[in-house]
């Protein structure tokens, strides 16, 4: 059904009464000897006929209006999904389908016993369910690993055993995305089970686009898909299927104070011809684990040897931070090594077209960024590794996906502007933590903290390039989960901005936190985004309000 008929008790009363009056009058005129306005004829015939007739009229009216873009924009829920798809297909707009989050988990065992997880084995994380889509059998002998879903149980550095398997969210939706390291626990634990956690970020979970979201893209659907003005550029990027779910973008160009790349001339004026394109491809940065080779340096730190890892521009393009470095094969809970120094740089070497970049600050969070990371390792025997020796380490890096891919797209000759270059960057991050207290009466139920964390996180991550996070937004979201007499207070908003030059600024407030205007360092509301993980929302509940 293109338009869902309204329930019989949800019609417009004025229309129903009009229909009753009209039907009464018409039937009375045709049948003067019948008492139509009251009694059996009225209550059992005229009334219900009027109700059904009104519903039919409203259905026709809704259908007629649902073909109108104006009416759809005023009431996005007016029409069903299929009808809105039909209308917007005239403007070359297609609804984005939903998908389920997927990821890999590590299961840690006490012994190397054979373990099997059947299809649809249920795992839980943060109250959400994930299932296996294959039969996974973990075996201790490499020779027994024959099928693609057989897993080899390997010893961990801390004396336990582990294997990995893939799980998929039970439903579509971005709320199923998980961060690396999150506990993902089987509902029916296997023998010798110790723990299990996500070894990769769970990504790709998105809900199908709603009518409201689809209509919001209408302007982009109509706009020419080309690197021209900001609407055209956004339309172009989202018209590429791989980039269609981009969360937000900001384009800094000629005349913007944050644009530094068009002032490379010896004259202190902006010449234009440069575009910094800040793209937030996902709600939250993704954490990627990789194994890299480190080299032991001659220097020491606190009496421990210092090792060095080089992050080339391709390992995690546009990365934000190195979250952890661990000896290869150790589990997440075994801790991380201390980073002593991080030196960012950039690498523009290519025979192809590249944007004009002259400093690591300009290259920060772009696909041309590189880094050298130094760290000390107390877990290794110093005497076993001389200066220059190499050793593999597991490293966790947070980055915004698709930055390199988008840069490659906009660099191509047939896409790029003939008069400008585009440097694609991840937004400058403001990692946000929020805490508040929910005050409730003793007779009220404890609110669902996990749901509140997720909702607040989603609300903060949905803030575009506006540079302000108000406490009222948090209150607004939290109140949707509270009983009538509960209140929220003591809100603390805390943000950590990592500048492109590597420096850090903290902002804190109880009413609002605001991105500072520091265009000389490329930090303003146009370049910076709030990132808030559900784990960074701290919900405290106090029973404090007296009963009435």
């Amino acid at each position: 059904m293109a338009v869902t008929p309204k329930a019989l008790n949800a019609l417009n009363p004025t229309l129903v009464n009009s229909a009753i009056n009209e039907i009464t009058q018409r039937v009375q005129e045709d049948n003067p000897t019948i008492d139509v306005g009251r009694g059996v004829f009225y209550e059992l015939l005229v009334y219900y006929h009027a109700v059904f007739a009104t519903r039919q009229e409203q259905l026709i009216d809704d259908y007629r209006r649902s073909r109108s873009l104006l009416a759809l924009e005023q009431d996005p829920d007016l029409a069903d999904v299929d009808l809105v798809n039909d209308v917007l297909s005239n403007f070359k707009l297609e609804r984005k389908l939903g998908s389920r989050a997927r990821g890999t988990i590590t299961v840690v065992l006490l012994n190397d016993v054979t373990v099997t997880f059947g299809v649809n084995s249920v795992f839980q994380a943060k109250g959400l369910q994930y299932v296996t889509t294959e039969v996974y059998t973990a075996k201790s002998e490499a020779a027994q690993v024959t099928a693609p879903t057989d897993r080899l149980i390997t010893p961990t550095a801390d004396g336990k055993y582990s294997f990995t398997l893939e799980v998929q969210a039970a439903n579509e939706g971005s709320n199923y995305n998980l961060e690396k390291g999150t506990l993902v626990v089987p509902v029916s634990p296997p023998p010798a089970y110790v723990t299990s956690y996500a070894i990769t970020d769970f990504t790709l979970g998105v809900a199908a686009e709603t009518n409201t979201e689809l209509l919001a893209r209408l302007q982009e659907g109509i706009a020419a898909k080309a690197l021209s003005n900001r609407v055209n550029m956004a339309a172009f990027l989202r018209s590429v299927d791989a980039y269609s779910r981009i969360v937000g973008m900001s384009i800094v160009g000629y005349g913007d104070a944050e644009m530094l790349r068009d002032k490379h001339s010896i004259f202190p004026v902006a010449y234009g011809g440069r575009v910094d394109w800040y793209v937030r491809s996902e709600n939250l940065p993704t954490t990627k684990q990789m194994t890299l080779t480190a080299t032991r340096l001659a220097e020491n730190s606190n009496g421990l040897p210092v090792w060095q890892i080089s992050l080339t521009r391709d390992v995690a393009p546009g990365f934000y931070e190195i979250k952890a470095i661990r000896p290869k094969g150790t589990t997440v809970e075994s801790g991380r090594l201390t980073i002593t120094e991080e030196i960012r740089s950039y690498d523009m070497t290519t025979t192809d077209f590249v944007p004009d970049v002259v400093s690591y600050e300009e290259a920060a969070y772009s696909r041309y960024q590189t880094a050298i990371v130094k760290f000390r390792d107390a877990t290794q025997d110093i005497s076993a590794y001389s200066v220059g020796a190499t050793l593999e380490y597991d490293i966790d890096v947070t980055y915004m996906p698709l930055i390199a891919e988008i840069q490659t797209t906009v660099n191509s000759r047939d896409v790029r502007s003939y008069g400008a270059d585009c440097l694609v960057k991840a937004p400058v991050p403001c990692f946000t933590q929020i805490s508040f207290i929910i005050y409730k009466q003793s007779n009220e139920a404890i609110p669902d903290a996990a749901a509140i964390q997720l909702a607040v996180s989603n609300a903060v991550n949905a803030i575009g390039f506006v540079g302000r996070l108000y406490a009222s937004k948090v209150q607004d979201v939290v109140h949707g989960y509270l009983a009538s007499n509960s209140s929220v207070g003591s809100i603390d908003l805390f943000g950590r901005i990592r500048y492109p030059d590597g420096s850090t600024q903290y902002i804190r407030g109880s009413d609002v936190i605001q991105i500072p205007a520091n265009p000389a360092k490329m930090v303003t509301y146009r370049t910076t985004h709030f990132f808030c993980r559900p784990e960074d929302v701290f919900v405290n509940v106090q029973t404090a309000i007296p009963e009435a």
Binding site: I20, T33, G39, V40, E43, L44, Y47, V51
Partner: protein, 158 residues
């Protein structure tokens, strides 16, 4: 036995509360739109008034979605389990009766004959037991006892 001529100059209603015995004789009403013997009936006069009265009395207030004030709380009291003694039923009826009276007055037309204008209703007997309630009522129109009882007549099927 009434004929079509008795209906001349009157407006009729569809007969759903069937009453076969003569007026003044107590009987249980039969609820039917049509039977094997006829394809429906129409009525007028006091019978029509009786139907109008019963429809309002038994309509739960608020259930007539686009006219929430129509009906009474009589059956709602029954639903709530309020009826435990005969006195409870009488109390409910007393409240409902007044409500019906006001609604019937509001529905009156200027040219209604006196035997279609409500005057009073008396609750004669209430019997509780075996999971059912029997209510005996006497409905009096403004014509009092001076009206001619017009019995329902059958409809012809076309």
């Amino acid at each position: 036995m009434s004929t079509v001529l008795d209906y001349v100059g009157r407006t009729s209603d569809y007969n759903v509360f069937r009453q076969n015995k003569p007026v003044g004789v107590s009987q249980e009403l039969e609820l039917a739109l049509f039977t094997e013997k006829d394809s429906g009936q129409i009525n007028t006069g006091i019978h029509k008034l009786m139907q109008r009265f019963l429809l309002l009395l038994f309509l739960k207030r608020g259930s007539f979605v686009y006219d929430f004030n129509r009906g009474t709380t009589f059956l709602m009291d029954a639903d709530r389990g309020y009826w435990r003694t005969v006195a409870d039923v009488r109390i409910s009826f007393a409240a409902a009766k007044d409500s019906v009276r006001r609604q019937l007055i509001a529905l009156e037309q200027p040219n209604d004959p006196s035997d279609e204008i409500y005057a009073d209703v008396q609750l004669n007997e209430v019997t509780l037991g075996d999971g059912r309630v029997s209510i005996g009522m006497t409905l009096t129109s403004q014509a009092g006892s001076t009206y001619k009882f017009v019995a329902p007549i059958n409809l012809s099927t076309r």
